[in-house]
């Protein structure tokens, strides 16, 4: 996996390669960046002239494009590598040794190019003509070491040693030379980490009761992120042991506090703020000063549940706007805010999370903050929609309101296929660890847990019956190009980027994503049925349409943005429309096709994104109108850009003129679809 531009590394090599030490590398010519290919769609005409940095490691797909180059593998899972012979015809017929080695930096490779296979011995393989399937090789069956201590991911590189000399040298290919390692193997983030945990309970006075968890070997661990948990109404600050022990075992300091929820979320936000400050100010009083010097006040995570979930969003808003000035931290020190099934009593302005990295869990079976259309108070999702930072969303089917804490009693849940705490907690724990590792440590391996489709990649601790709809969107200003987010140019014939939209899907409507009739019953008069994504005063728009036969939705690409070859993926989010007759008839997870068109009129082969993960069937909960199906569940789709050239090397990713979404002919044969956030994902995201 390589995400960074190679140009800087090339310069480094030119300047610093010690020729005597690295003869194979020194002998080659790094003449152009296209020769050091590996970016989507570029093919080196002379791959043997240099070390070729390629995507190699990944996983097989059951259908076209047949292989998914991926970054992270969980321990116990198989790792493959693959070469598309139509993009690398020079490889065909060659026999090579394929190595999996501990990741090295460029400088380390220059110093020592010896290949030592982490599996004990390389795999010898002769490249075949034809398809990528014929050139897919199992690298490991799940035995590679994943122990990275309290970090996530042991990094590896994959090398094709064409001259079989046991050295990385001219003509060899490598996944992991530039930027990121070839791949990571991670421990299951749903399992406890390596540290024993100490729990301590104390009070600093009124609404300063705290339950704090930290690694028992804290003395040896330096400064750690601080996770603050703010409970919900009628809940207790000692009901979050599952999160406290889990995150502390992975190297966090976790503090759950008394939260003043009963007066309302504004009061709750105050206790989040004051308890965070209290801990930072008074850490010398806790456990004989055990925490002193170990809390990193520049890496704070706020997690809130229910009214507390609204409270943490409000708390950040107040710090950001200056309505509250903390003593020991600033807005930039809040690395992540996560709201679990938050209420939404306060105003749009009060509950805008601005640019903080924001996350939300909701339970589709929640009978308290139920996510229904009857009142904004129980609609959590508009808060998520307003976030302009990196944001991630998980909707868990079968999870009730009380399934997110660990106190026995009513689950506050309703609907079919309930999963209880046993199903809910692994989703919570594994995703919190991934998010926190990424946003507090810059852990790259963790990104896959929220960047890839849930069905494509998630913790093995999550029971197989658990259904999760997951979204992730990079921050505004992260470099992605927004083709159409439906926020401007609100007619259906023009994208927000100003390009033409042509569609043969039926009943196409662009509008505010607000369910206006307080009912989930399907009504043609309420096209945004099931879209509990906006309330009065919000601006989040999207598109909805349906199809019962082959149909298309195509959006043109701005000429200035036509070069997709250096981009990572095509991204968008989509959902099935709840209780619509087409959804009810299809009655299963859904997908559709995507293809690109280049300036010469060539089309890429349609890709059914369902091979990566499908859109969930809306949760079959009844009530709030007739029929079955709860709020629409968006899922984020990211199709790797290179996959559009699979077995189709003549397709020109540098000249893309149009993106076509194909309905009826690929994936579901009929359906009702919601669509939003069509983006070109830039390198580095």
């Amino acid at each position: 996996m390589h995400r960074d531009s190679p140009s800087a590394v090339i310069a480094l090599l030119r300047a610093a390669t010690p020729l005597a030490l690295m003869a194979p590398l020194a002998a080659q010519t790094f003449s152009t960046s296209t020769q050091i290919s590996g970016g989507a769609g570029s093919i080196s005409p002379e791959p043997r002239l240099g070390v070729l940095d390629l995507e190699l490691a990944g996983e097989t797909l059951a259908g076209y494009p047949h292989f998914h180059y991926t970054r992270t593998f969980e321990i116990g899972k198989r790792v493959w590598m693959a070469i598309d012979p139509t993009r690398h015809p020079a490889f065909v017929g060659d026999t090579a040794d394929i190595y999996v080695v501990a990741h090295q930096s460029v400088a380390q490779w220059i110093a020592n190019g010896a290949l030592i296979d982490a599996r004990g011995a390389p795999t010898t393989f002769t490249f075949q003509p034809g398809t990528i399937q014929a050139n897919t090789v199992t690298l490991d069956n799940g035995t590679l070491n994943a122990d990275a201590g309290d970090s996530l991911g042991v990094p590896y590189d994959v090398i094709i040693d064409f001259d079989q000399d046991g050295l990385l040298g001219a003509g060899d290919a490598i996944d992991g030379f530039y930027g990121e390692p070839g791949f990571f193997v991670v421990e299951d983030p749903g399992q406890p980490g390596p540290h024993n945990v100490i729990e301590t309970q104390y009070s600093g006075g009124s609404f300063l009761g705290q339950d704090t968890y930290y690694p028992a070997n804290l003395l040896t661990l330096g400064q750690l992120p601080l996770v603050v948990i703010s409970h919900g109404n009628g809940h207790d600050y000692r009901w979050y042991d599952h999160i406290g022990y889990h995150l502390a075992s992975w190297g966090c300091i976790v503090m759950s506090h008394q939260n003043n929820t009963q007066p309302g979320p504004e009061s709750a936000s105050v206790t989040t703020l004051t308890n965070t400050d209290y801990l930072l100010t008074n850490q010398h009083l806790i456990d004989n000063g055990a925490l002193v010097g170990h809390i990193d006040a520049t890496r704070i995570i706020w997690i809130g549940h229910s009214r507390g979930g609204e409270g943490v969003a409000r708390a950040f808003n107040k710090v950001k706007t200056g309505a509250y000035v903390p003593v020991n931290y600033k807005a930039k020190d809040i690395a992540l805010v996560s709201s679990i099934a938050p209420t939404e009593f306060l105003t749009v302005a009060q509950l805008t999370p601005f640019d903080v990295n924001y996350h939300m869990f909701v339970g589709a079976s929640d009978s308290d903050v139920n996510g229904g259309p009857t009142t904004p108070i129980v609609q959590s999702t508009p808060i998520y929609e307003r976030s302009a930072g990196d944001k991630t969303f998980h909707s868990i089917q079968g999870a009730g309101h009380a399934d997110f804490h660990n106190q026995a009693g009513s689950c506050w849940c309703t609907g079919p296929s309930l999963i209880g705490k046993a199903g809910t907690h692994p989703v919570v724990l594994s995703n919190y660890l991934a998010l926190i590792k990424h946003y507090t440590e810059g852990n790259v391996a963790a990104r896959d847990y929220f960047e890839r489709a849930y069905d494509d990649f998630h913790s093995a601790s999550i029971p197989s019956n658990v259904i999760v709809a997951a979204e992730h969107k990079d921050a505004v200003g992260s470099g992605n190009f927004v083709v159409d987010d439906f926020q401007t140019n609100t007619g259906t014939a023009l994208s927000s980027s100003g390009t033409a939209v042509t569609a043969t899907v039926t009943n196409l409507v662009e509008a505010l994503m607000q369910d206006l009739d307080s009912s989930f019953s399907w009504s043609a008069a309420v096209p945004m049925n099931g879209m509990c994504r906006a309330i009065s005063g919000d601006v989040q728009r999207g598109a909805v349409f349906d199809f019962t036969a082959s149909a298309t939705y195509a959006v043109a690409v701005l000429p200035a943005q036509k070069d997709f070859s250096d981009d990572v993926a095509l991204g968008f989010r989509a959902c099935q429309g709840t209780r619509h007759p087409n959804t009810d008839t299809w009655n299963q997870p859904a997908s559709f096709g995507v293809r690109l068109e280049d300036a010469l009129g060539n089309f890429s082969t349609p890709i059914d994104f369902g091979w990566y993960g499908k859109l969930t069937r809306p949760y079959l909960r009844t009530g709030t109108g007739t029929g079955s199906g709860w709020a629409n569940e968006f899922g984020t789709v990211r199709i790797p850009m290179e996959s559009f050239t699979r077995h189709n090397p003549t397709f020109d990713l540098t000249q893309v003129v149009k993106i076509h979404f194909l309905f009826g002919s690929v994936g579901a044969t009929l359906g009702r679809i919601g669509m939003d956030d069509i983006e070109i994902i830039a390198k580095g995201n």
Binding site: Q201, Y202, S203, G204, G205, S206, G209, G232, N233, G234, H235, D236, Y237, R238, Q258, N260, Q262, P263, G264, P265, E266, S267, V270, N282, L285, I286, S306, R307, A341, T343, F345, D368, V369, G372, T374, T375, I377, V378, H401
Partner: protein, 220 residues
């Protein structure tokens, strides 16, 4: 006697809540909360009343104005458990006369609710100015206490009186005061809260764990 009073109070409370609930629904604020339908039972009795006074004031967050509190009542109320089941949506606000009451425990198991009711001191009478003989105690409109200001509170009181909700009978108030004993003088809000927690262990033993959460060792 207690039963007939209870029925009257129940009917009146139901009327208040029903009227409030209708207006609230028309405003599109939220769907009916479970507590609003059950709230007809409201406050069934006054079990314990003890005046308190503090050396240091604190802010009463259960009103928009967040008035400073130096004195008030600690009450234990007999309530209909179904009215006080905690939830995340709007909950019926508990009023004592012209003040909102702060709930210390939930009371949904025992039916016993420990509350703090701020009040100025009436130095002539030698007790909080909020006269329990004069002010009714009832569950009003489901809303957020932190958003309730003096105007809204006055409207609630008028509606309650119009609905026939009356203060508890003098004998009941006297009995409750006798159980409560005289003034308790405390240093600050923390001591008040911890004292209230001990009342929870006495009156709502099923919420012992909640009380323990309020009684954690103080850092020094």
């Amino acid at each position: 006697m207690r039963n007939s009073r209870w029925l009257l109070t129940s009917f009146a409370a139901f009327a208040v809540l029903a009227a409030a609930g209708t207006a609230w629904m028309k405003a599109g604020a939220t769907e009916p909360a479970a507590s609003s339908t059950a709230a007809a039972s409201g406050v069934r009795g006054l079990l314990f009343a003890q005046p308190f006074v503090l050396d240091q004031s604190y802010s009463h967050t259960w009103r928009a104005e967040q008035p400073s509190v130096r004195a008030g009542w600690l009450l234990v109320l007999d309530v209909a458990p179904e009215v006080v089941v905690p939830q995340q949506g709007y909950e019926p606000v508990l009023f004592v006369g012209d003040q909102t009451a702060e709930r210390i425990n939930h009371g949904d198991g025992s039916g016993h609710l420990v509350v703090i009711v701020p009040s100025e001191l009436d130095h002539e009478r030698g007790e909080p100015a909020l006269d329990l003989l004069a002010g009714p105690i009832w569950f009003g409109t489901p809303r957020l206490p932190e958003q309730l200001d003096a105007k809204g509170l006055a409207e609630e009181l008028v509606a309650a009186r119009r609905a026939g909700i009356k203060p508890f009978a003098a004998a009941k108030v006297v009995e409750a005061k006798q159980r409560g004993g005289g003034f308790i003088a405390l240093k600050d809000r923390t001591e008040l809260e911890r004292y209230a927690a001990t009342l929870v262990t006495t009156w709502a033993p099923d919420e012992y764990d909640l009380a323990q959460g309020l009684l954690q060792p103080l850092l020094k």
